[in-house]
C-alpha cells in the first residue's frame, strides 16, 4: 500500500483525502459478523412477501404479474427500509466518532494529515458502505428473485428504487455520524440519534399537521396556503421524501407524482378536495366506495407546482446532508477535542 499503488485503490487515494479513512472504517467493520447477519435479514424480509404470494396463489393474473414488483416495493419494502435501515444505521454509526473520542484513537487519526472534515466525510462514506453492502446484497438477490419469478422484473424501476434507498441510507448515516461527532460519549450519541430517528419516523406528521393547525388557529391561514405549508413540512422529512419519491417513480405515469403527494394526506373530504385542486393542481373527483364517499385526485393536465415536484423532493435529501455538515462544522470542526 505505498505511494506507487496502482489501480482503483490508488486512484481513489489520489482523488480523495478522506479515502483512507473510509477504507479503514470499512475494513474495520467488514470483519464483524453482524454485517452478514444483516445481509441475511434484509434478504429474508425482502423475499418473504413475494414468496408468500407465489406459494399461496397458484395462478397469478396478468395484472398481478405485471405490477407485483411495484406492489411489494410500495406496500412492504418502503416500510422495511424506512423502519429498519435507520435502526441499522444508528447501530452502525452512533459510535463512529464518539468511540474514537473516548478511547483516544481520534488522537492517532488526527495526528495524521487529515482535516476534521476528511474524517467526517470518510466516516460517512465508510459507514454508508458498511450498511450499503448488505443492502446491496439483499437487493441484488431480491432483483434476481423477481427476474426468475412469474412477476415481471422491471429493471429501471428496481434500479431507481435501489438508488433512492441508497440516497436515504446516506442521509441517515450522515446525520448519525454528525451526531456522533457532536457528542462526548457513545451513550449520548445513541440517545441523540434515537431521538432524531423517532422524531423523523413517528413525530414528523404530527409536526407538519401542528404547523397547519397553528397557521389556521393563530394566523387565520386556511385553505390552500395552509395545506401547502403542511405538505412542505412533510416533504422535509427524509423518510416521507423517500417514500413519496419512490411511490411516484413506481406509478410510472404522468399523474404518478401527484397521486404520490396526494396519498400523503388523510383529511376530511373538503380538505382533500382543496389539497388536490389548489395545492397539487389536480382535478378532485368524488367516487363511491364501500367505505362511503372518497375523493380521488386525477391529473388535470397541468403539472405539479415546482416546489412539490420529484426533483425538488430529491433536493430536500441534500438539505439534510447540509444540516448534518453544519452540525459537524460547529460541534466537531471548530471545537477543542
Amino acid at each position: 500500500m505505498s505511494a506507487q499503488n496502482e489501480g482503483l485503490d490508488g486512484a481513489l487515494r489520489d482523488a480523495f483525502d478522506w479515502y483512507p479513512v473510509a477504507k479503514k472504517e470499512f475494513r474495520d467493520a467488514i470483519r464483524s459478523k453482524g454485517l452478514w447477519v444483516l445481509s441475511f435479514l434484509f434478504t429474508a424480509l425482502f423475499l418473504i412477501p413475494g414468496a408468500q404470494v407465489l406459494f399461496l396463489e397458484e395462478n397469478l393474473g396478468r395484472q398481478a404479474q405485471d405490477i407485483g414488483m411495484q406492489y411489494f416495493i410500495s406496500s412492504s419494502y418502503l416500510n422495511i427500509v424506512t423502519l429498519l435501515v435507520p435502526i441499522v444505521v444508528i447501530f452502525a454509526g452512533y459510535a463512529a466518532i464518539s468511540e474514537e473520542r473516548t478511547s483516544g484513537s481520534l488522537k492517532v487519526l488526527l495526528s495524521l494529515p487529515f482535516s476534521r472534515r476528511d474524517v467526517i466525510i470518510g466516516k460517512v462514506i465508510g459507514r454508508s458502505a458498511v450498511v450499503g453492502v448488505p443492502l446491496l446484497v439483499a437487493l441484488g438477490l431480491t432483483g434476481a428473485f423477481f427476474a426468475v419469478s412469474q412477476f415481471t422484473f422491471k429493471f429501471d424501476v428496481f434500479a431507481w428504487f435501489t438508488l433512492f434507498t441508497f440516497a436515504f441510507t446516506l442521509v441517515m448515516v450522515a446525520f448519525v455520524v454528525s451526531i456522533s461527532g457532536a457528542m462526548s460519549t457513545n451513550l449520548r450519541s445513541l440517545a441523540g440519534a434515537g431521538i432524531v430517528y423517532f422524531y423523523i419516523s413517528f413525530g414528523w406528521n404530527s409536526l407538519a399537521n401542528a404547523v397547519g393547525d397553528g397557521l389556521a388557529d393563530y394566523l387565520g391561514v386556511t385553505g390552500a396556503l395552509r395545506w401547502q405549508a403542511v405538505l412542505f413540512v412533510k416533504l422535509l422529512s427524509p423518510t416521507q421524501a423517500y417514500k413519496t419519491l419512490t411511490n411516484s417513480m413506481l406509478g410510472e405515469g404522468d399523474g404518478a407524482a401527484m397521486t404520490a403527494r396526494y396519498s400523503m394526506f388523510q383529511q376530511d373530504q373538503e380538505s382533500m378536495g382543496t389539497i388536490c385542486g389548489d395545492v397539487l393542481n389536480g382535478n378532485p373527483q368524488t367516487v363511491q366506495s364501500m367505505f362511503g364517499n372518497r375523493t380521488v385526485c386525477e391529473s388535470a393536465g397541468s403539472s405539479l407546482p415546482l416546489q412539490f415536484s420529484d426533483p425538488a423532493v430529491f433536493v430536500s435529501f441534500f438539505l439534510w446532508i447540509g444540516l448534518a455538515a453544519a452540525i459537524s462544522y460547529y460541534t466537531f470542526d471548530r471545537v477543542d477535542l
Binding site: 500500500m1 505505498s2 505511494a3 506507487q4 487515494r13 483512507p20 477504507k23 479503514k24 475494513r27 474495520d28 470483519r31 464483524s32 474514537e100 478511547s103 483516544g104 484513537s105 488522537k107 492517532v108 488526527l110 495526528s111 495524521l112 494529515p113 487529515f114 482535516s115 477543542d336 477535542l337
Partner: protein, 332 residues
C-alpha cells in the same frame, strides 16, 4: 527556522487555566525534552501544536507554519506518538502501518519499521486488540516513524515500555535525530530525557519555569548543594533554626534523624559553625550534589519551597489547588 515556536500561548478551559503565556523555541535538528509533572500542561501544549485544541491567546508555529491555519500541511511532515491514545482493536499491526503510509502518501517498508521498534512480522499480522501495552506502544512508535517525518512529537513515549523498550526508544530518538529530524518529547521522568536531549524545558502549572541545555541545568544544580548533618534528634530543631540564620542558606529541614540544609557549596563550613555555635554537637555530616532529579523535584514542588530560579525564570509558585485544577484541564 525553528521547528517549534510558541509565543505567549495561553489556554483556558472554562475557568481553568492550563497554559499561562508559554514562550518556547525548539531549534531545527534538536532533541528537545519537555519536562513537567502530570497536569502541568504538557499534553495541552502538544494538543495546540497538533491543532487538537486552539489557544485562547498567543500563537504557535510548527515547521514555520501556523499551527491552526496550516495544520494539515504540518501533519504531513510530523510523526506523532500521542499520550492516552488507542489503536483500532480489529485491525492488524500491518494494517495500522499501511493506514499511516496511505494517509501520508509515504512509502512503507513494514519489515524495517517492525525491526526498528522490536516487533515480529508475526505480530504484525495479529489484531492489535490482542497486543500488550508495550507492544501497542512499540507499534505506535513505529507508526510515528513512517514516512521519515521532519519533526517527531512524542508524548510520554516510555509509557508502558519495560527498561529494554525504553532503551530502544532512546536509541530510535538518536537515530532519527542523526537522520536530520527534530525530536520533541515530553516526560515527567527526568532520567529519560537527560541522556538524549540537547535542550530541556520545564513546565509547571502552565508556565515554563526553566529552559536551558542539559549542561546548563546541571550547572544550575551545582549552586544548590545539600548538606546532610547528623545531630541528636532532640537538638534537630535548634540546629535547623541556627542554620536558617546563615545568609546563603535557602532551606533547612529536619528529615527523619537528619537535618538537611540546602545552601551554596562555599558556605558549608559557615553552616556547620553556626550549628555548633548554637550549642549542638555535630556527629557527622556529608554533602550531596543535587542531581537533576532533585532539581526537577524542587522545581515542580507545589508548596512554594523552590530554590531561587536560575536564569531569569518567573517567580511565584502556584498553590496545590491550582496544580490539581490544571491537571483537570489537561485531562480534557
Amino acid at each position: 527556522m525553528p521547528a517549534i515556536e510558541l509565543d505567549g500561548v495561553t489556554k483556558r478551559f472554562g475557568d481553568v487555566t492550563a497554559l499561562r503565556g508559554v514562550d518556547m523555541t525548539v531549534e531545527d535538528g534538536e532533541v528537545f525534552g519537555f519536562l513537567g509533572p502530570n497536569g502541568a500542561g504538557k499534553t495541552t501544549t502538544i494538543d495546540i501544536l497538533l491543532d487538537f485544541v486552539r489557544p485562547t491567546a498567543g500563537s504557535a508555529t510548527v515547521l514555520g507554519m501556523d499551527a491552526r491555519e496550516d495544520s494539515e500541511a504540518i501533519r504531513e511532515r510530523l510523526g506523532v506518538l500521542p499520550d492516552g491514545y488507542d489503536l483500532y482493536d480489529r485491525l492488524t499491526g500491518r494494517q495500522h502501518l499501511e493506514f499511516v503510509a496511505e494517509a501520508k502518501r509515504a512509502d512503507l517498508d513494514v519489515a524495517a519499521i517492525l525491526d526498528r521498534v522490536g516487533l515480529d512480522l508475526e505480530d504484525a499480522e495479529r489484531k492489535t486488540g490482542g497486543y500488550s501495552k508495550g507492544m501497542q506502544q512499540r507499534l505506535a512508535l513505529g507508526m510515528a516513524l513512517v514516512g521519515e517525518p521532519d519533526l517527531l512529537i512524542l508524548d510520554e513515549p516510555s509509557t508502558g515500555l519495560d527498561p529494554n523498550g525504553a532503551r530502544l526508544m532512546r536509541q530510535i530518538v538518536r537515530e532519527e535525530n542523526e537522520r536530520g529530524a527534530t525530536v520533541f518529547f515530553s516526560s515527567h521522568i527526568l532520567g529519560q530525557v537527560e541522556s538524549v536531549c540537547d535542550e530541556v524545558a520545564i513546565l509547571q502549572n502552565g508556565e515554563i519555569i526553566a529552559e536551558d541545555s542539559v549542561e546548563g541545568l546541571r550547572a544550575a544544580t551545582d549552586t544548590g548543594t545539600r548538606l546532610v548533618v547528623s545531630v541528636d534528634p532532640a537538638d534537630a530543631e535548634t540546629a535547623a533554626a541556627a542554620a536558617r540564620e546563615v545568609d546563603t542558606v535557602e532551606n533547612a529541614t529536619v528529615e527523619g534523624d537528619d537535618l538537611v540544609v540546602t545552601c551554596d557549596s562555599d558556605s558549608k563550613m559557615d553552616v556547620l559553625t553556626a550549628i555548633e555555635d548554637a550549642g549542638v554537637d555535630v556527629h557527622d555530616f556529608e554533602t550531596r550534589e543535587a542531581s537533576l532529579e532533585d532539581l526537577f523535584a524542587a522545581y515542580t514542588e507545589a508548596d512554594g519551597e523552590r530554590p531561587s530560579a536560575p536564569a531569569g525564570t518567573p517567580g511565584g509558585a502556584e498553590s496545590a489547588d491550582d496544580a490539581e485544577a490544571a491537571e483537570g484541564g489537561d485531562a480534557r
